[in-house]
């Protein structure tokens, strides 16, 4: 039990240090991807693809 707890505790400490040093968040936001073609095709540049109807947040 002591040995198992030692391993477990060590994993928690290392995990905590790793997560915070790497800026990891356990609750993930929705991820997406805007292809280069779509971004590049717009005359207004990178932002203009949103006008094309792409609404990632909704």
């Amino acid at each position: 039990m002591k040995y198992l707890y030692f391993i477990f505790g060590l994993l928690v400490v290392v995990g905590y240090a790793w997560a915070d040093l790497r800026g990891h968040e356990f609750r993930q936001t929705r991820k997406g991807f805007v292809p280069q073609g779509l971004r590049g095709a717009q005359a207004a540049g990178a932002r203009s693809f949103w006008y094309s109807g792409y609404h990632g947040g909704k």
Partner: protein, 619 residues
Amino acid sequence: MSVANCPSCGGQVEFAVGSSAAVVCNYCRTIVARTDRGVEDYGKVAAIIDTGSPLRSGLTGKYRGTGYRLTGRTQLRHQAGGLWDEWYAAFDDARWGWLAEAQGRYFLTFRTEDASDVPPYERLELGSSVDDFQVTELGVAELASAEGELPWRPHAGDKYEYADLSGPEGRFATIDFSEEKPFVFKGTETTLEQLGIKGEAGKARRIAVEKLSCSNCGAPLELNAPDQAERIYCPSCGAGHDVTEGKLKFFTTLKAKKVKPVLPVGSKGTIGDTEYVVAGFLQRSVTFDQKYFWMEYLLFNRQKGFRWLVHSDEHWSFVQPIPPGDVAGSVEWQGKKFKMFQKADATVEYVIGEFFWKVAIGEKVATEDYIRPPEGLSKEVTTGGAREISWSHQRYMTPEDVEKAFNVKTSTRPWGVGPLQPYPGSNVIGMWMMFLGLILATAMLIGVTRAKRVVFKDVVRQGPVDSSGRPTGTSFTEPFLLSGNQNVEVRAGANMQNSWVYVTGDLLNEETGALESFELPIEYYSGVDGGESWSEGSRSRKVLISAPPKGRYVMRLDTQWEKPDTAPVSIEVREGVFRISHFIMAIVAVSIPAILSVFKKWSFETNRWKDSDYSPHGG
């Protein structure tokens, strides 16, 4: 050396030591005392009973650098029936040493001159203190026999009161009340090795096991310690016999009640590196709300003497005597503190086998048990006949240990928690504290090295009304840089009242096209109801994004207000935000197993103490 003639038989007696006071005539066993009037007849004594002692008259040794010679001995009868030897050692520096030998233990004492502050025998109480000694035994000794040259002048059949005292670190003292002014002897418990007796001379002589038969049923009886046995109960019919010099004298038959010992009388087992024979078996009881029974096995080894094996509720413990003076007042032994567990009068309920005292059914002793699992201390106070305090040390044994030691099957497993049973789990409190410290140190390190940084700040204002009649606003942020390997917090806030704002956003990496989408619904309501003010919701909201890679980012923010003319929404983006929730999660994660382990131990300890009147758990 001086030579004289025995006043009784005329045989020649020799006083080899100038300071000796008496010598036992080898021919007629008369005590020949040397007085200022010459030699006198102090009466005849019985022949020495062979106790299998490794010592003998004439043996020489060296104690703490001073040589000595054993000149003689007396055998004294204890009130409980047993005998002990007192050997007399003439030291090269003209001192006399009194060497008491009983049940394989040795106590060497020297007479002290100052006995002025010794209270009279009648005023001594068991457990009372004299200097730094504790009175452990008060009784009457009877001279049974003697041999050789003696430093005092005993009369045959002399009886005298004595007090034995025990001090710390094995120190020992005896007060002899044989004369008006008591004699005080002080010394220490010692070993044959410390007495400089080695090799063959230091080995106990094997006394043949006496094969006898029960005078009631004829069943064979074995006396393992014929020199020390005082009473034997036949395992077949329960007939009790007094043992006198290896001979049996029937005195009673036990009632029909029979208890079958797990370890049969006569069986042998090895505990540590010592082989013991089960000499006797006792069932004892204490009465609280009801009678509680347990078993005790008397073990014997010629070199080590007597030990006990206690069997209660299928829990076992090995018991050996310790000097009472080694137990400090607050029940501390060898630097270890013990807790009071039980105090009761123990009664002998059943007995078979051989014992070194005149044990009988109904015999009572006052007991006090102290525990420090897996060890325990037991104090027994005997008040019938000689008054005596004895202490013993107990060590827990599992049934498997006993099975292995005696090659038997105990068949049942322990139930409940034994008073000395060690907690089978682990104590992780120390480790828990260590992990809490590590987590705290990590948090502080991260908090110090990762100061949060605002990377973007702007305000979104109300724009055109949408189809539902609500004002909206869409904004595109200026590009900003993120450092990577750090979390990102997007916070939206609006100074509003009884309203809501809904923000949706996308964080776009301009180089890779990776997109993180989020929503920030904000609502805040407050008012006064029944004279009491209330509020719900919050005027700000945040979302945390898991460390986006290093790069240039932009955000699109779509905002919808519930009502027109509501305050604009401020937007702030930070990176490297300290996460208190991660810290708490880590603390909780390492604490849950530790708390469960503490609870498990608490439950085990509560169970252990449930039958005690002295429970620290308040049971």
